[in-house]
Amino acid sequence: MTLNLCVLTPNRIVWDSEVKEIILSTNSGQIGVLPNHAPIATAVDIGILRIRLTDQWVTMALMGGFARVGSNEITVLVNDAERGSDIDPQEAQQTLEIAEANLRKAEGKRQTIEANLALRRARTRVEAINANAVIS
């Protein structure tokens, strides 16, 4: 049985092909999906998605959304998705530092919410790069 993964963002289709296995960061922790998984619906956190092709792993930074698994068909709906190999490490690191600084400076409820979100996004991107580096 083959497993088909489809990652959709509002702009484009980021991934639409066959995979062996994926590890998805959901709101309630990471879950691995292998072929013939039971149909589930889950919220996807801001975090990384690991995809196993035949013998290599690919990482992707997901910016929060939703995933549906059913009859060997995974549909991931996210606001934004970037492949680890497509992210510029320097730029990501800088963004992370800026985000950290912003959180320290943040005043009031609203700014904290914004800064926290930005920080989590930045951290995920850096994580995606690091995971990519470790694997390859």
Binding site: L8, T26, P39, G65
Partner: protein, 369 residues
């Protein structure tokens, strides 16, 4: 020779006074169908032949520019349409999922922060304008709409703040410091999820931190290439039922407000005019929810909010380009007409001059005999 050159000047001017009448008649003709401001620019054709020629040339150049802008806008409209098409798989799947989850949740009492309806004290208006001018009344229309809405809110005694998107709106609101603006955001050539995300983040935090109790999106809805309407669309609170009223039961929505509807029968949720009929049959009935359904809805609604904003940005861009296209095409038409009128005057003037010169020569020859 010197003596003869003098009457020739007098002659040509007296003759040209006759040709004066014709432009006036011509402009009288054009002003009846065109705008009167242009006719006033045509009337003073007091200039001499060379100046006329220069004017014809400059009109020709302007015509070339407007024609090129029209073609560029037309090409960009196609690209904007492609962007909408590219986003379709996403929005279709989203609609499908939302629909089925909503079905499953319809029996439960959901409490999601984004759908929480509070008594409205302050409203945030997200005004989407273009980045550039030369597109007819496009920017003015949407800004006028915003002004009208602001006045309405003032009358209702509600507080408001503006989130301005696009350079034209930004410059408008910076010139009017009495309008409270929360944030200025720049639009880009082609709206992407990132821009939508920036706006969504802003309104999200405004709403969640309870700084505002309602978020309205003002943008130009793309109807067709020749028609687009500025509309007000309630973004937040998202309502799973369809109607948005505050707790006291008073509806503060604008009359022509388009509402977010989750529960329509055909599963049509988007602003799209072409009905998206998505198949909901393949959605497995034995689907398990990994988290609480409420949590899943919580994850889905920001996505929906985002795609809603992106759609609005795309529509606004498409309308801007369409507006530019029609503005430029009428500008080209005007230039063609102006060129026609000017060259007619020019030819008359030239003819008159030649006639005058021949008359002079004949008169001179007769005087010699």
């Amino acid at each position: 020779m010197l003596v003869s050159s003098k009457p020739s000047l007098a002659d040509s001017s007296s003759l040209s006074s006759r040709s004066f009448i014709s432009p006036v008649q011509l402009t009288g003709h054009t002003s009846s169908k065109g705008n009167p401001s242009r006719s006033s620019s045509v009337t003073p054709i007091h200039c001499n032949l060379r100046e006329l020629r220069e004017r014809i040339d400059s009109v020709k150049n302007t015509q070339k520019i407007t024609e090129a802008m029209k073609l560029v806008a037309a090409a960009k409209v196609r690209r904007a349409q492609e962007a909408v098409v590219n986003g379709r798989p996403f929005s279709e799947t989203l609609v499908e999922v939302l629909y089925s989850i909503n079905e499953q949740l319809s029996t439960e009492d959901v409490d999601v922060p984004l759908t929480k309806v509070r008594p409205v004290k302050k409203v945030a208006l997200v005004v989407v304008t273009g980045d550039r001018g030369l597109c007819g009344g496009f920017n003015n229309n949407i800004i006028k709409k915003a002004e009208k809405r602001i006045a309405e809110l003032k009358n209702l005694g509600l507080d408001y703040t503006v989130v301005s998107v696009g350079k034209k709106g930004n410059s408008y609101f910076t010139r009017r410091p009495y309008i409270p603006v929360d944030k200025f955001l720049d639009g880009t050539a082609l709206p992407t999820a990132k821009e939508a995300q920036a706006i969504a983040d802003d309104v999200f935090s405004l709403f969640i931190s309870e700084e505002v109790d309602k978020v309205e999106l003002l943008y130009t809805k793309f109807v067709s290439l020749v028609k687009s309407d500025p509309v007000i669309h309630t973004l937040l609170p998202l309502s799973p039922k369809g109607e948005i009223c505050d707790i006291n039961g008073t509806c503060v929505d604008a009359a022509e407000d388009e509402l977010f509807r989750l529960t329509t029968k055909e599963g049509k949720l988007t602003v799209e005019r072409d009905v998206v009929r998505t198949e909901t049959v393949d959605f497995s009935p034995i689907l398990q929810f990994e988290q609480d359904p409420v949590q899943i809805l919580d994850a889905l609604l920001p996505l929906y909010l985002n795609s809603q904003i992106l759609r609005a940005l795309q529509e606004s861009l498409a309308s801007e380009l369409a507006a530019r296209m029609s503005a430029m095409s009428s500008a080209t038409d005007n230039a063609v007409e102006l060129k026609k009128n000017l060259s007619m005057v020019y030819n008359r003037r030239r003819q008159a001059k030649i006639t005058g010169e021949i008359l002079e020569i004949v008169a001179g020859a007769e005087a010699l005999i």
